[in-house]
Amino acid sequence: MSVGVLVDVMLALALVGLSLRVVTGRALFRDMVLFILFGLVISLSWSRLGAPDLALAEAAIGAGLTGALMLMAYRRLVEGGAEDSPGRRRSFLALPVGVLSGALVAVIGFAALGVERVPGAAGTLVLEELPGTGLGNAVTGVLLVFRGLDTMLEMTVLLVALLGAWAVLGEARPGRLHQVDRDTPLVAALLTSVSPLTLLIAVHLLLAGTDSPGGAFQAGAVLTGCGVLLVLTGTLRPAVAAGLVTKLLVIAGLTAFVLIGAGALAFGRPTMALPGTWAVYLIETAMMLSIAVTMTLLFARSRGLYPERR
């Protein structure tokens, strides 16, 4: 057994063990932290499977962003009087469902054993056509050029999720967040060193995404990390209503996609046929900003954000 397969087996065992703990653990808070760890192990698995784009996305979005959102929601529950780190109650369904789930695993696992990898027809076609698009990263090529409609609808889902969250917000009650003391030197140092760095990494991921692993989603997630930091330190404060800039930023990705995609019709080209690499950069930049603002608003649970004036 080669070292590589050994690593794969260890990662696979970690996945199974961690998911078991996340699902059946006794302390909710700890299990949420373990879920973030689970996301990081998935991220490592992606890189082992030869998908670095997914590894980046999983680390930033699957583990980082989902984890931050969950921990924040959990804090809101606890601040609202919910039991801190509740245990797990025995369900009468545990045994029958456990047996059925075991059977499910056996059936899927048995089917999985018979899977044979074949050359991907669609993927081969993408790689053949890729040089014509001016892009070097096949995944970015699929997302923006070959299956642009999917990505456009994905931005729509993100927008609908934000509108849904706004709809169930109730009367806005901003500013209920516990703020960290910004006057300690550590927080100030963290802000001044980490915020520009995340900006730099986000822009790098965006620009690198056309030729190497990276892209708008990874960049947007990293930028959200910056937003989360600013919200947690009180540099950005939740606002009662969305300002014009916020609204424009939230719809920027979808708008850029629709305008450029539909604009192709005016030049007698098929819908969503992008006119060149500049369009890819433009749409990706707009998407990155939309993703970052949308996710930061979802994290802050507010309709808008305004910078604190000191």
Binding site: F35, A57, P86, A112
Partner: protein, 102 residues
């Protein structure tokens, strides 16, 4: 034994574990964790059964999974918003109807 089959089997197990948790778990947050665990298993499954190209897994499948990851976090964010609002309105954190500090 290739590494693909290792991940396929792991994904099968993780999916089953997630399905179990989704049904049996009491706290809504844990149901959400289970749902996300199931989602990750499906993503690993998609990529490992997808076709291969000389440059790694099928880029179409990779883009599909990337889309899925973003959709999953959007859906999770909405579910969390619903959960927090439900707790504000009713004081409950589960669907069983019991008070949450018993």
């Amino acid at each position: 034994m290739s590494s693909t089959i290792v991940y396929l089997l792991a994904a099968s197990a993780v999916f089953g574990i997630g399905a179990y948790g989704l049904i049996v778990a009491d706290h809504l947050m844990r149901k959400l964790l289970a749902l996300n665990v199931m989602g990750s298993a499906v993503f690993v499954f998609i990529l490992t059964v997808a076709g291969v190209t000389p440059e790694g897994p099928d880029p179409v499948a990779q883009a599909l999974v990337l889309t899925g990851i973003v959709i999953a976090v959007a859906a999770t964010a909405f579910a969390l918003a619903l959960m927090v609002r439900m707790h504000e309105e009713t004081g409950l954190t589960s669907l069983t109807g019991d008070d949450d500090d018993d």
